[in-house]
């Protein structure tokens, strides 16, 4: 019975287990790590300013937090759309299994969400107190709740706030790490799937999450400021690009290391993974994820980091690179989540995946779920001004 891997190299005939025909974790499960990765990356940017004191990031520090919050509100949505019985989702909070990575979602998400909300409320307290005084009726009640019914902005209060913000953001870093790291472990802990079961999986997920978050912040910053015809702080952009490069190099190296070790080790399972990447996933992995969306940005980032470039061109190139990297991370999630399920556990064949248009996990649903955070970002910007100079009015 141990000849299961014999012939997997050759794959002369395709055999999948009868129950392996269907791909169970579809596009919503591609989207969930993508969205929670954006939250993570945005939070890292904020942490660089608030905890590590990188002063050049001041222009986008608050923006990153609001950006993270807008996406944080939405990350439960792809999961609820995926569950077969979403009405039972409370079971995750009632009886979470201590051995299951997925069970962490309920409490980790609640804690991370609460933490992020608190951080934002503390940072924006002066602005919000101002709004309490300016508004009437229900809006006044709303702002009173957001300020915990305290209008005290004395130096002692502000000093206390500063300390608390630093403390909260500092513990926010491990919380954010766990928030996305556990997602990587959901895959890394599945020994039945050779594409997934690797200790590198949580690491790859985390680093590419940071890449997507920073790229998302850059692109959103450029887009919103260009639309508003406001100035873009190129110095801030430079620091972001440098940080992005660092995280991306790490993420890319780990991804390639994973592929290379499968190729080098050459035992049964590893051959199946190679067959997957060179077969059904050839276009989405080698051409799109690696070729177009990794090698090209590597060169672009190298150019941006090494050479002196005029501001206008720098902004355009930053936007292009960020867009390509956002695509790269999306493709990576796709290739891992869906690609990993294409390989049958028989180790003798591959199945196919057909995205539907109108399914609850279909293409239309994906577009809607991706659009909602931006809509939320717009609404949040009315309550929490995104840019420091706007608050001075």
């Amino acid at each position: 019975m141990n000849e299961l891997h014999e012939g997997a190299r050759f794959l002369i005939a395709n055999y999948i287990f009868p129950n392996d025909l269907h791909v169970h974790w579809s596009m919503m499960i591609v989207l969930y790590p993508y969205l929670s990765g954006l939250v993570d990356g945005a939070f890292i940017v904020a942490a660089l300013y608030y905890v590590f004191g990188v002063k050049s990031l001041k222009p986008i520090a608050r923006f990153s937090l609001i950006f993270a919050l807008a996406f944080m509100f939405c990350i439960a949505l792809p999961l609820l759309l995926h569950l077969g019985r979403p009405e039972r989702n409370i079971n995750m909070l009632l009886t979470p299994s201590p051995s299951s990575a997925m069970a962490g979602f309920g409490y980790i998400y609640s804690i991370a969400m609460g933490l992020l909300a608190l951080i934002i409320l503390f940072i924006y307290r002066p602005t919000l107190v101002g709004k309490v005084e300016q508004s009437k009726g229900y809006m006044r009640l709303f702002y009173r709740m957001l300020t915990f019914d305290s209008t005290n902005l004395s130096p002692e209060a502000l000093e206390l706030d500063r300390k608390i913000i630093k403390f909260l953001v500092a513990i926010g870093i491990p919380v954010a790490t766990i928030l996305h790291g556990y997602v990587g472990f959901i895959f890394g802990g599945v020994k039945a799937n050779p594409t997934w079961s690797s200790p590198l999986m949580p690491v790859i997920f985390l680093f590419s999450a940071c890449v997507s978050g920073i790229a998302g912040i850059i692109l959103a910053y450029i887009a919103i400021r260009t639309y508003r015809r406001s100035a873009i702080d190129v110095n801030c952009l430079k620091i972001l690009i440098h940080t992005l490069s660092g995280f991306f190099i790490l993420a890319f190296c780990f991804e390639m290391l994973e592929v290379f070790s499968h190729h080098y080790l050459k035992s049964g399972f590893h051959h199946m993974v190679e067959g997957l990447l060179n077969g059904p996933l050839y276009y989405s992995f080698w051409e799109w994820q690696v070729g177009f969306c990794s090698i090209t940005p590597l060169f672009l980032l190298g150019w941006l980091v090494i050479f002196k470039i005029k501001d206008q061109l720098y902004i355009i190139l930053s936007g292009v690179v960020s867009f390509l990297l956002l695509l790269q991370v999306l493709f990576m999630r796709w290739n891992v989540v869906i690609g990993g399920q294409l390989m049958s556990k028989s180790a003798r064949g591959y199945t196919v995946f057909h995205p539907e248009w109108f399914d609850k996990e279909g293409i239309i649903a994906v577009i809607v779920v991706m659009a909602i955070p931006f809509f939320l970002l717009f609404i949040l910007s009315k309550i929490f001004p995104l840019w420091v100079e706007e608050e001075k009015n």
């Binding site: 009632l94 009886t95 201590p98 609460g114 307290r125 209060a157 608390i164």
Partner: protein, 177 residues
Amino acid sequence: MQSSYYSHVIRIVLGIVALAVLGFIGKTVLTPKSFGTYGHYRADAIEEEANIEIRHWTNAPCFACHAYEANLHLYGTHKTISCEFCHGPYADHVTNGKKTGVLPVKKGEDMKILCLRCHNKAIQARPEAVIKTVTMPEHLKDQKVKLTHTCNQCHHVHAPLKYINRDKQIVGMQGDS
């Protein structure tokens, strides 16, 4: 009167504590009672699974009414076959001691396909020691019968060798298959 410089922090902490207490109460109330008895699961689910309706009742209840077929079946070469495989589950036929449905009986070409499910020699993975196999229509040619014959025209389905052996006795051959 303005709040003190730390009141908002106190209110936040109190809020978190209140939420935690409410959450804990909610968890205790909403978690099913039998959860955790044997492990991290609802112990009542074991009995729920144990009480699922049984649909196949083995050959015994069939023999209770169909004594003629029982007699043939139990002394023939098909004694290990389940009635319910060819005819369908008992639950489709009898409920609470009363007949509630008629079970199908295959005939003609359908019957031949059913017989060949086990007895087809074209599938090589059938050891001779386990089951006797033939190929169609070669078997008919070897036995010198019409090629339109169905299996049951020579073999009694419930005792496949009954007539074959009797015929051989009549003709004077050894009672062998």
